[in-house]
């Protein structure tokens, strides 16, 4: 992860590969590229098993915990700046201003973000990326997409990636070797924080690919619409239960439209009949 153009290329490649595979529709309407995704999933898994996970495990067990906290805080602070931008873009003024205060406070009194004093002062940390911003603007997620090395995503979130890379302050760090070291350390630290979660996942899942996919898609949806399915649980009953996709509403623009944020922003997210949810994103893709 060294430079933005490289990321752009990666994202474009992943998208291209996905579009090539648009013809072969899988059984799950939200995952038409399942065969490609599964191949990429096992590739990522291999990289993780033999490279990332062992390094992260050693890092977790050997590095003093205050160092780990500092690393997490430092990169977390940089991420707060981009979160602030996205919160403001989503019209969440209060959260955005709070993120700006966090960034200002932690960057100065928190010594370049090493200490998260803002959290202790009651300013809650948020995490927003441009994919969530597009989602808030009404862009539907499109099909599930497994990215090389970057992991689970969707077509919308992949299209949003170049903006996220550009919004990452660390990607402007000079000299380049320091930037690369930092990016590597951040990656290992993030992976280390997920070690327990992933070992639980192995226990719980019958099919890890499906489990991660179905969990990830729900999680993204809940991040965009925190109260999506409301304070009241759905009145579910096996007798009336249909095999319906997770998201009840879909603006369903063709994923190509998502490339231009302006045009997508005008697409309203009125409730659309269920069948749109399953058919349209895939069909829109196939026609590209």
């Amino acid at each position: 992860m060294s430079s933005t153009p490289k990321h752009l290329r990666q994202a474009a490649l992943a998208l291209g590969a996905a579009l090539l595979l648009a013809g072969c529709a899988g059984p799950n309407p939200r995952d038409p590229y399942e065969s490609y995704n599964r191949a990429m999933f096992s590739f990522n898994d291999t990289v993780d098993t033999y490279a990332l996970k062992p390094v992260a495990t050693v890092y977790r067990d050997v590095t003093p915990s205050f160092v780990q906290t500092g690393v997490g805080n430092f990169f977390g602070n940089l991420a707060d700046a981009w979160t602030a931008v996205n919160n403001l873009l989503q019209g969440k003024g209060e959260a955005g201003m709070s993120d700006i205060s966090r960034f200002a406070l932690n960057s100065t009194l928190g010594i370049l973000g090493l200490f998260d004093i803002a959290s202790e002062a009651g300013l809650q940390k948020h995490k927003e990326d441009f994919g969530q911003t597009l989602g808030t603007w009404g862009v539907s997620s499109g099909p599930y997409l497994m990215l090389p090395l970057l992991g689970p995503s969707t077509v919308r979130d992949t299209v949003a990636l170049p903006a996220d890379f550009a919004g990452n302050i660390w990607s402007y760090k000079d000299p380049v070797y320091l930037r690369n070291i930092g990016t590597g350390v951040n990656l290992v630290d993030t992976r280390a924080s997920l070690l327990d979660a992933t070992s639980m996942l192995e226990d719980a899942a019958l099919d890890r690919y499906e489990f991660i996919r179905d969990g990830y898609l729900q999680r993204r949806e809940s991040l965009i619409h925190p109260d999506g399915d409301g304070g009241k649980p759905k009145q579910q009953d096996p007798a009336v239960e249909e095999a319906k996709p997770a998201s009840p509403q879909a603006a369903a623009p063709a994923p190509a439209e998502a490339k231009s944020a302006e045009s997508s922003a005008t697409v309203s997210s009125e409730s659309v009949p269920k069948e749109l949810n399953s058919g349209t994103p895939a069909a829109g893709n196939a026609s590209l």
Binding site: N28, D196, S199, M200, A204, G215, G231, K232, E241, A243
Partner: protein, 213 residues
């Protein structure tokens, strides 16, 4: 002086125990119920050296005695199986429910054995007192990383409130299993799904629990 102190302490303990008993499942609010179970389980897990050391038997015992009585695993299974539930024979339903319940025990046990310094914050319940289905929301503060969302769907039945779905980090357990269930059933029918679940449980039974480092 010391004796008096001891007596006071004993009285206080009895009073507390009685209180806990009085707030039993009969007329307990759903959020109070979930809060009570979760605090009880976390405290027991933190205090028990054997659990901390990953004693599988102990952890599973904790799950079975303190959590499972308040979980409607039949409903969870039927929801996860969706429309296939009606196609199953009563015998298949029973087997499926049993195996899914066992898998959940292993999953909870795995989570519990990793408890260290985590604390749980509950959000105020947004529900009408007359509601029979509510969502209880909480956040688990982790030793590192962001807090984790942990929400519960709770329904009132003849035996009081019971949990029938859990949301971890934005994903509902039932919804997450639904896809897997459907694809296993499409491959080998309901018996195929039961077989896969049984095999999974057997492999988990022979594997030691991972503990928090």
């Amino acid at each position: 002086m010391m004796k008096l102190f001891k007596q006071l302490f004993a009285v206080a303990t009895v009073a507390l125990a009685f209180n806990a008993h009085a707030a039993g499942p009969a007329n307990e609010a759903p959020d109070a119920l979930v809060k009570r179970i979760s605090q009880d389980v976390i405290e027991t897990a933190k205090a028990d050296k054997a659990i901390q050391a990953g004693d599988t038997k102990k952890v599973m015992q904790l799950v079975e005695t303190k959590i499972l009585p308040y979980v409607d695993s039949d409903r969870m299974t039927s929801l996860a199986a969706g429309r296939f539930w009606r196609e199953a024979t009563p015998e298949q339903q029973k087997k499926l429910s049993e195996q899914f319940r066992t898998l959940l025990i292993y999953t909870y046990s795995g989570a519990l054995s990793q408890i260290k310094n985590e604390t749980v914050d509950f959000q105020p319940l947004r529900a009408d007192p007359a509601d029979t289905e509510v969502e209880v929301r909480s956040k688990v503060n982790m030793t590192r990383g962001e807090p984790i969302t942990l929400n519960y769907r709770v329904a009132k039945g003849a035996a009081g409130w019971k949990i029938y779905d859990i949301n971890v980090m934005g994903a509902w357990l039932v919804e997450t299993y639904k896809g897997t269930f459907a694809s296993e059933i499409s491959k080998g029918g309901i018996d195929g799904l039961i077989k896969t679940l049984t095999a999974k449980n057997q492999s988990l039974a022979s594997k030691p629990l991972k503990t928090a480092k």
